[in-house]
Symmetry: C3
Subunit: 260 residues, 3 copies
């Protein structure tokens, strides 16, 4: 028997919005410690890793580890039926081939349940090695989304360059070139508006706009995003999900002789 | 001479929005008692019945009964020209082949008039027999619209089941099944948020989502909607138009051996 | 060396939105006195004339007159990257083949620069003769936009008729006819809501809806618009850009025997 209850169903909706454009389907691995999802995107370029710890749920019970393969478009349809203040309860029997989502309104006068068929998906467990990063940039998630969107108008890739002073995002294309520079914040009054750089050595790497843009679908999950970079190692774009866990995206840098 | 004046032209705009996706054209029957419209939808499945009583208008004069056939897309274009605070006056001469709509702004500094050609439409007068219903459900119109929209994602038809305790809307499709249960409200503080059931005997009937969705275009007209159901009799979906009349939709239940 | 700085970059964004649907590309003529742009629209029917005086900029330097040919779609992309509170600085070297736009956020923690390639465009200098107009109508710009949009639903051209009492906009088409009458305002409390008519003699002219609609893209620039009319002379639709200059559109009247 698996049962997980989240008073704020909107959080789960935001998680789905953050991954459904990258993944058509995915396996949710449920165990005593929580729910995990790890998958390459549809075009096998980037990696999505979601971690929701059991403590973060309002009720959590997992008698036996189970893996639930789901079509994310269908799952999005189910969550589109939840009201913004609804509580969601996810339920599955051991060895069941369906999962049930129950939504309850605040005053309990409306109860909806949706039973969805599960899928058998090939499991691909991907080891993510621990890395020492050259630069770790913490910045407002909305600012990151804005910059990626703006520069994507001009070119197909973005160079992210980090020094002690700040971080620079650059692109070039037929129209011309664009650079956005963010200085490290001195004033830490509003932590969520800060740009904080933890640098071992300067780094400058090139990434495909297309994937960075897809990662920024997670912006509603968190005010801050963390970018971790190191030469020859995938960029990690991490969004904390308050009290519940985190969502990470991994993307290998482009190797381009003629750029930058 | 026919002349009808409504201080709140927005009400007429909402009525048009509620019927223009079901009807390409329609005959408005004007008499001393008011304006009536009765028509099968374009695909001849459901029936629309509109009743606006003369008392509800701010000024109303109808010397001789007349029938005005109008193209509803054209009529919508005319009403799109009215401001949200405008007064509308509808005028037609006896035996005229045009109708005039005059919009006046609050301060009278802007006056618009639109003259539209009338159409000769085949009249189909449909007798609607008085029925004793097994269940009459009064519920918030926005909730009904939301449920129909949500369940339409999964299947082509919705089963509405009513008992003394409450009403259940169900569907099933390729993805799985969905059920939404509303309990009868005990607390009658806010009448417009209440679910009130008047039941003679339990009933469970199946209806096509497509039409239910079109009926919910009337949601802006009223906070409440009334669903009247009885075996082998069309469902009546009724929206009261405050102080002016009502708009009813009729839809026969589906007869399906294999469902529910 | 050319350098022009505007604290409110949003004004420049609005100017671009007001001309980019009429012009694919345009030459900005920069001199000591300011920036000018004058061009026929893509279909060579109407004329756009923009005047920004150097005094209106927060900083302005133009050592040598220069003409910068730009693709307006590309320029719009650049300005889409500016925040609503950003300051913009436009810079170009003498004889340069690129122009640079620098956006600075209020707190200067974000600085973006975009370098765009310039184009060589054929220069067409068009003399606009000074005209004595029969009627000059000053009215709310949003009201003008609304009327043009509304009437465009019915016909391809709009007749603008002006007398001492007021101004009338009329159209006719397959559906029927439409007239909107605005009375001259007696109460001048709110100047921006006033309709003020300066008339030498009554005039009634016909114009193509399509172009009038494109001119109203300038509505966000100013609360008021001025329409200047005279027989056999192009209509002038003028939007003042507060403290900076003005944007004018010119459109010749239609000569139609059978209309009006």
């Amino acid at each position: 028997m698996f049962e997980a209850r989240l008073v704020n169903s909107a959080t789960f909706k935001k998680i789905l919005d953050a991954i459904k454009d990258l993944l058509d389907q995915a396996s949710f691995d449920c165990s005593e410690s929580g729910i995990q999802l790890q998958a390459m995107d549809n075009s096998h370029v980037s990696l999505v890793s979601l971690n929701l710890k059991s403590d973060g749920f309002d009720k959590y019970r997992c008698d036996r580890s189970l893996t639930m393969g789901m079509n994310l478009a269908s799952l999005s349809k189910v969550f589109r039926c939840s009201g913004s203040d609804d509580t969601v309860t996810i339920k599955a029997q051991d060895d069941a081939d369906t999962v049930t989502f129950m939504f309850e309104s605040k005053k309990q006068e409306k109860i909806s349940d949706y039973e969805m068929k599960l899928m058998n998906l090939d499991q691909e467990h991907l080891g993510i090695p621990e890395t020492e990063f050259s630069c770790i940039i913490k910045m407002p998630s909305a600012e990151f989304a804005r910059i990626v969107r703006d520069l994507s108008q001009f070119g197909e890739s973005i160079v992210i360059s980090c020094t002690k002073e700040g971080v620079k995002f650059s692109t070039q294309g037929d129209i011309g070139t664009g650079n956005v520079k963010l200085a490290q914040t001195n004033n830490f009054d509003k932590e969520e508006e800060s740009v904080i750089i933890d640098m071992q050595e300067p780094v400058s790497l090139t990434f495909a706009c297309q994937y960075l843009n897809l990662f920024t679908k997670a912006t509603p999950l968190s005010n801050q995003v963390t970018l971790s970079m190191c030469d020859n190692v995938p960029l990690v774009v991490e969004y904390q999900i308050p009290d519940l866990g985190h969502l990470c995206y991994y993307l290998a840098p482009k190797i381009e002789e003629d750029e930058n």
